[in-house]
C-alpha cells in the first residue's frame, strides 16, 4: 500500500460586529435580546424613499483593525450593493464593499505550535451591514426580526495559510484579543459578535502523485470550539473520502457544509457551489469615501501595542512565564494596570502574582474590570515593594490587596492595622528562637542526628517560631538565626 501523507490548508472568513454607537447607515442603537423589531427605523427597515447615511465611526473602527493587521488602507473606497433575495434582508440588497475594500494585503501573527510566531496573510477587510434574523416558530409561517439589520460588520478574509485546526483557533483567539484591545468590538461569542467560515481542504501526497481534495466551506460557526472541531472533523472526513472515491478539487466542486453541534460533525448543505450572481454595482445613494492622510494619522494615533507583542515582551523583559504573560495581556485594561504598576516601581513577577491570584479573581466576582476595583497602580506597586522587602509575607500581601479593594486604604496602613508587618528584628527573634530550642529538645536532637529526620526537624522548629510570632516573623531571618544556632 502507498504511504499517504497530507497537508491541511485553511483560509478563514471572519465577521466581526463593531461596537459603534449606532447602526451602519441609520441612527438606531445596536441591540441584543430586545423585543423583536424594537430597534428599527424607516432606513434599516428598507422603507420606500429612505436613504443611507454612512457611520463614520464604523469606518474609523475598521481602519484601526486594518492598521493593526498590517493592511494597506484604501485612500479611496466606495459602497456597493450586493443583491440577493432573502426575507431577513429588507432591501433585498446588502450595502457592502466589492472591488475596493477598506483594507487589503496585510498579515496577522499568531503563536505557532513550535513556540515561534507565524504570519497569516490577510487578503482583505471590508465593511458591510448585517441582515436581520428569520425566526422559524411554530406553524407554517416564519417571522422576521430586523433589530440586527444594519449592524456594522467587518468582514476579514485570510489567505489559506493555516495548516491545522489549532492554528485556526489561535488566529481566531488572537483576532478576538486585538479587536477588544482596539475597543472596536465586544467580540462576545455568545452574542454572535464573531462568526467564522473556514475554507478547508487537503493536499495529499501519495506514491502516485499529489492530489488536492475539493474545498469545503463550513458556514456560520460562532464558537472557538465549533471552529476547531469542525476543522478536525473535516480533515478526517476529507481524507477518508479521498481514499474512498479519489475525488479531487476541480472547478465548481466546492461545497458548503454546516456544523452540527450535537452530533459533532459537519453536514452537507450545498453540493455544488451555486453560480451566485450578486450583481454588484456602486450604491448611488452614498458618496465614495476618501481617507485623507490627516484622517488616517488621526486614526493611527489610536493604535496601541498589540496583545501578542505585549505577551512576548512580558516574557522577555519581566521573566514572566508565557502562561502568566498570556493572562495579563488577555485584556487591555489588565495589561495597562500591570504596566502602570511596574512603572510605579513594583517588581513584575510579584505584581503578576498579586494581579492574577487576587486582582482578577476579585474583578471576576464583582463582574467588573480590574481598573474598576478602586485600586491604584501606585498602591499595588507599594504592596509589591513591601513584600519584596520582607515587610510582609506573600500571603499577607494577598490579604492586604483584598482589603485595599474594599477600603481604598494604603497597603501600609492596612498592614499595620491588621498587624501583618513581619518581625525582622534579629535580637527579638533570637530570643524566641532560643525559647523554641529550649522547649523542643527532641527536635534539636533529631536535627543533630542528621539523616532523613534532620530536615523534618528543622521545618518543625521553624514552624514553632512562626506560630509563636503568629506568622509575623520574617521566615528568611528566622531561618538564618536557627541555622546559626544549630550549627
Amino acid at each position: 500500500m502507498n504511504k499517504v501523507d497530507y497537508k491541511v490548508l485553511v483560509g478563514l472568513e471572519i465577521h466581526v460586529q463593531l461596537c459603534t454607537r449606532t447602526k451602519m447607515f441609520c441612527g438606531c442603537a445596536l441591540g441584543f435580546g430586545e423585543q423583536p423589531n424594537s430597534r428599527v427605523c424607516p432606513v434599516c427597515l428598507g422603507m420606500p424613499g429612505v436613504l443611507p447615511v454612512m457611520n463614520k465611526q464604523a469606518v474609523e473602527f475598521s481602519t484601526l483593525v486594518g492598521l493593526a493587521l498590517n493592511c494597506q488602507i484604501a485612500e479611496f473606497t466606495k459602497w456597493d450593493r450586493k443583491s440577493y433575495y432573502y426575507p431577513d434582508l429588507p432591501k433585498n440588497y446588502q450595502i457592502s464593499q466589492y472591488d475596493l475594500p477598506l483594507a487589503a494585503n496585510g498579515y496577522i501573527e499568531i503563536p505557532a505550535t513550535n513556540g515561534d510566531l507565524k504570519k497569516i496573510r490577510i487578503r482583505r477587510a471590508h465593511l458591510e451591514e448585517d441582515a436581520g434574523k428569520n425566526l422559524h416558530t411554530a406553524g407554517n409561517f416564519s417571522q422576521v426580526d430586523l433589530n440586527r439589520a444594519g449592524t456594522p460588520l467587518l468582514e476579514i478574509v485570510t489567505e489559506p495559510d493555516m495548516n491545522s485546526a489549532t492554528e485556526v483557533r489561535a488566529l481566531a483567539e488572537e483576532l478576538q484579543r486585538i479587536v477588544r484591545y482596539l475597543g472596536v468590538s465586544e467580540a462576545d461569542m455568545q452574542k454572535g459578535h464573531m462568526r467564522f467560515e473556514p475554507n478547508v481542504n487537503l493536499v495529499i501526497n501519495r506514491g502516485d502523485g499529489q492530489f488536492k481534495t475539493p474545498i469545503v466551506e463550513v458556514k456560520n460557526l460562532n464558537s472557538f470550539r465549533a471552529l476547531e472541531n469542525s476543522i478536525e472533523y473535516e480533515i478526517d472526513r476529507q481524507l477518508d473520502q479521498f481514499l474512498e472515491t479519489g475525488e479531487v478539487m476541480e472547478m465548481g466542486n466546492k461545497s458548503t457544509r454546516g456544523w452540527d453541534d450535537a452530533r459533532e460533525m459537519t453536514v452537507l448543505q450545498r453540493e455544488k457551489e451555486e453560480a451566485h450572481d450578486y450583481r454588484y454595482f456602486p450604491d448611488p445613494d452614498l458618496v465614495p469615501v476618501r481617507i485623507s492622510e490627516q484622517w488616517l494619522s488621526e486614526i493611527k494615533s489610536r493604535l496601541c501595542e498589540l496583545p501578542l507583542n505585549k505577551q512576548i515582551r512580558y516574557v522577555k523583559d519581566y521573566g514572566l512565564s508565557d502562561y502568566d504573560a498570556g493572562v495579563l495581556t488577555a485584556d487591555r485594561q489588565v495589561a495597562n494596570f500591570f504596566e502602570a504598576s511596574v512603572a510605579a516601581g513594583g517588581e513584575p513577577k510579584r505584581l503578576c502574582n498579586l494581579l492574577t491570584q487576587v486582582g482578577l479573581k476579585l474583578a471576576n466576582t464583582r463582574g467588573c474590570s480590574i481598573a474598576e476595583l478602586g485600586l491604584s497602580a501606585d498602591g499595588v506597586a507599594e504592596l509589591a515593594k513591601m513584600t519584596e522587602a520582607g515587610e510582609i509575607s506573600a500571603s499577607a500581601a494577598n490579604t492586604i490587596l483584598e482589603e485595599m479593594a474594599k477600603t481604598g486604604k494604603s497597603p501600609r496602613a492596612l498592614a499595620e492595622e491588621m498587624n501583618l508587618i513581619q518581625k525582622s528584628d534579629a535580637g527579638e527573634l533570637e530570643k524566641i528562637v532560643d525559647e523554641v530550642l529550649r522547649d523542643n529538645q527532641k527536635a534539636v536532637d533529631d536535627f543533630k542526628a542528621g539523616g532523613k529526620k534532620s530536615g523534618k526537624a528543622r521545618g518543625f522548629l521553624l514552624g514553632q517560631v512562626m506560630q509563636k510570632t503568629k506568622g509575623r516573623a520574617n521566615p528568611r531571618v528566622v531561618a538564618e538565626i536557627l541555622d546559626k544556632k544549630l550549627s
Binding site: 424607516p42 420606500p48 424613499g49 429612505v50 429588507p90 416564519s142 422576521v144 450583481r279 448611488p284
Partner: protein, 487 residues
C-alpha cells in the same frame, strides 16, 4: 380668483385680501367638478387641507408670521412619502402603503404653510412619458382630454394646468417634470442633482432622480425653489451649501441677463414636429430681440444619451425596486407555497408591464459578464455627455432646445411601442445624465391648440440664472396666461 399665480395668491392671503380657506374651497370645488374628467389625483385631503387653511388664516388674522407659502393649495406627486394618506407610486404593489415618515420636501412645504391638496398620479414608479403606465388610474391632458398629459409627473402638470392646485411638486429622472410641463403648457423645473433632498422620494434611478416644481409661472418656480432647496443630512448626495450656496431665487428674478449668449444644437432636432421647431425658432427670435446672441454648441455625444440612460436608470431601478417583495409591506400574494413564491407571485401580480420591462433590462445590464459591456460603458458615455455640457457652457450662458419632439399625443398611441415612447424623452434625458438644471416654459401652441415648451439649460447650480433667463421670455409673452377650457 382661479387664475392667480401661487405668488399672487400667497401675497393676497398674507395681506388678508383673500383667506386661505376661500382659496382652498375654490380648489376643492374645481376638483369636484373637473377632476372626474382630468384624473390628476390619486388621493385628496379636503378635511386636512381645510383645517390647515383655517389655521393659517387664524395666524394671519392674529398678526402672527406665516410661512413662505402661507395657505397656498399645493399638490405633491404620489412618489413622495407622507405620513398622511397613502404613498402609492401609482403601483398596485404600494396601493395601500402608509409611509411612517414625511419626505424632506414635504416637511419643508408644511413648514412653509402650504395647504396640501392631494397626491397626484404618475407613471408607475415614475417610469414612463405619458402617465399611461399608472397602475391606478388614467390622467388626461386638460387641453385635449383624448390626449396624454405627458409623464411621468403627468398628474402634477395636469393639476396645475387645470387649476386643481396652484403649484405642485414633480420628480424628474429623464424628463419627467419638463416633458409633461411642455405637453400641459405649464412651467416645470428640474433642479441640479443634489440641490433638493431626495429623502422620502421613492427611488427610481437614484443617480438621476430629482424633485422640482411644476408651476403656472417662472416666478412661482422661483418661489417654490426658495422652499424646497437645501442640504439635507439624511441625503448624502445632497450638496452642502458651502460648496454651492443657495441664493434667494426671487430676489433678482426680474433682472434680465445682460449680453445673454444662447447655445443651440441645430443638428439635435431630428424627428421633431415642424410646428414645434417653429415655435422654438420664434422663441429664440424673442430672445434675439432682447439683445441675446445665439451660437452653435458642439454636443457630439448627445445621440448616445438615450442608450446610456436606459442602461443606468434601469440598472438602478432593478435594485431599488427589489425591496417590493411582499415580505415586509405592500401587496402580498394570497396563498404562497413557500417564500420564493411570496416574491415571484407578489411581484408578478402587482407590478405593471413597463416596470417589469425595466427591472428585467436593469437586471440583465448588471449581470456578471455583461456589467462591463453595459453598465460600465454607459457610465463612460455619461461622463462624456457631462463633459460636452461643461465645454459647451464655456461659450454660452445657457443652451436652448426642444423639450419634446411632438405636442401631446393620443392616449394609447405609443403604448404598444416602448421604443417610440422612450424616444419622446430624447431632448430631456441628457440633462439628467449631466446632473444640470433644466426648465420647460410655455412657448406656443400647435394648430390643434396643444401647448409647446421651450427647454433652457444652464451649468450645475445655475438655477438663479436659469430662472432669470426664463423670466425674460415670460415677461415678453402671454403663452403662460392661456388656460384650457374645461368647464
Amino acid at each position: 380668483m382661479d387664475w392667480l399665480s401661487a405668488k399672487q395668491l400667497k401675497e393676497k392671503i398674507a395681506s388678508g385680501k383673500i383667506s386661505s380657506v376661500e382659496a382652498t374651497k375654490v380648489v376643492f370645488e374645481r376638483i369636484t367638478k373637473i377632476e372626474p374628467v382630468v384624473g390628476a389625483y390619486i388621493s385628496t385631503f379636503e378635511e386636512q387641507a381645510m383645517a390647515k387653511a383655517a389655521e393659517v388664516d387664524k395666524r394671519i388674522a392674529a398678526g402672527e408670521p406665516a410661512g413662505k407659502l402661507s395657505g397656498v393649495p399645493i399638490a405633491i406627486k404620489d412618489n413622495m412619502c407622507t405620513t398622511f394618506g397613502t404613498t402609492t407610486c401609482a403601483s398596485k404593489i404600494l396601493a395601500n402603503f402608509h409611509a411612517p415618515y414625511n419626505a424632506t420636501v414635504v416637511e419643508k412645504l408644511l413648514a412653509a404653510d402650504a395647504v396640501i391638496v392631494g397626491k397626484t398620479n404618475l407613471d408607475e414608479f415614475a417610469m414612463g412619458s405619458s402617465t399611461e403606465n399608472s397602475g391606478l388610474k388614467q390622467t388626461v391632458n386638460p387641453w385635449d382630454t383624448t390626449r396624454v398629459p405627458g409623464g411621468s409627473s403627468g398628474g402634477s402638470t395636469a393639476a396645475v394646468a387645470a387649476g386643481l392646485c396652484y403649484a405642485a411638486l414633480g420628480s424628474d429622472t429623464g424628463g419627467s417634470i419638463r416633458q409633461p410641463a411642455s405637453l400641459c403648457g405649464v412651467v416645470g423645473l428640474k433642479p441640479t442633482y443634489g440641490r433638493v433632498s431626495r429623502y422620502g422620494l421613492v427611488a427610481y434611478g437614484s443617480s438621476l432622480d430629482q424633485i422640482g416644481p411644476v408651476t403656472q409661472t417662472v416666478e412661482d418656480a422661483a418661489l417654490m425653489m426658495n422652499i424646497i432647496t437645501g442640504h439635507d443630512p439624511a441625503d448624502s448626495t445632497s450638496v452642502d451649501e458651502q460648496t454651492a450656496p443657495i441664493p434667494d431665487y426671487l430676489e433678482k428674478l426680474d433682472e434680465p441677463v445682460k449680453q445673454l449668449k444662447i447655445g443651440i444644437v441645430p443638428s439635435f432636432n431630428a424627428g421633431a414636429d415642424e410646428q414645434v421647431r417653429k415655435a422654438i425658432a420664434n422663441a429664440l427670435n424673442v430672445y434675439n430681440g432682447l439683445g441675446a446672441d445665439t451660437i452653435e454648441a458642439q454636443m457630439p455625444h448627445l445621440d448616445y444619451a438615450i442608450a446610456a440612460y436606459y442602461v443606468i436608470a434601469t440598472a438602478e431601478a432593478s435594485s431599488n425596486l427589489s425591496r417590493y417583495d411582499g415580505v415586509h409591506y405592500g401587496h402580498r400574494t394570497a396563498e404562497p407555497n413557500d417564500y420564493i413564491e411570496v416574491y415571484t407571485k407578489s411581484r408578478a401580480e402587482a407590478f405593471g408591464k413597463e416596470v417589469k420591462r425595466r427591472i428585467m433590462l436593469g437586471t440583465y445590464a448588471l449581470s456578471s459578464g455583461y456589467y462591463d459591456a453595459y453598465y460600465l460603458k454607459a457610465l463612460k458615455v455619461r461622463n462624456l455627455i457631462r463633459q460636452d455640457f461643461v465645454k459647451a457652457f464655456e461659450n454660452c450662458d445657457c443652451i436652448m432646445m426642444l423639450v419634446s419632439p411632438t405636442t401631446a399625443f393620443k392616449i394609447g398611441e405609443k403604448m404598444d411601442d416602448p421604443l417610440k415612447m422612450y424616444l419622446s424623452d430624447i431632448y430631456t434625458i441628457a440633462v439628467n445624465l449631466a446632473g444640470i438644471p433644466g426648465i420647460s416654459i410655455p412657448c406656443g401652441f400647435d394648430d390643434k391648440g396643444l401647448p409647446i415648451g421651450l427647454q433652457i439649460l444652464t451649468p450645475a447650480f445655475g438655477e438663479d440664472k436659469l430662472l432669470r433667463i426664463a423670466r425674460m421670455y415670460e415677461q415678453q409673452t402671454d403663452w403662460h396666461k392661456r388656460k384650457p377650457n374645461l368647464s
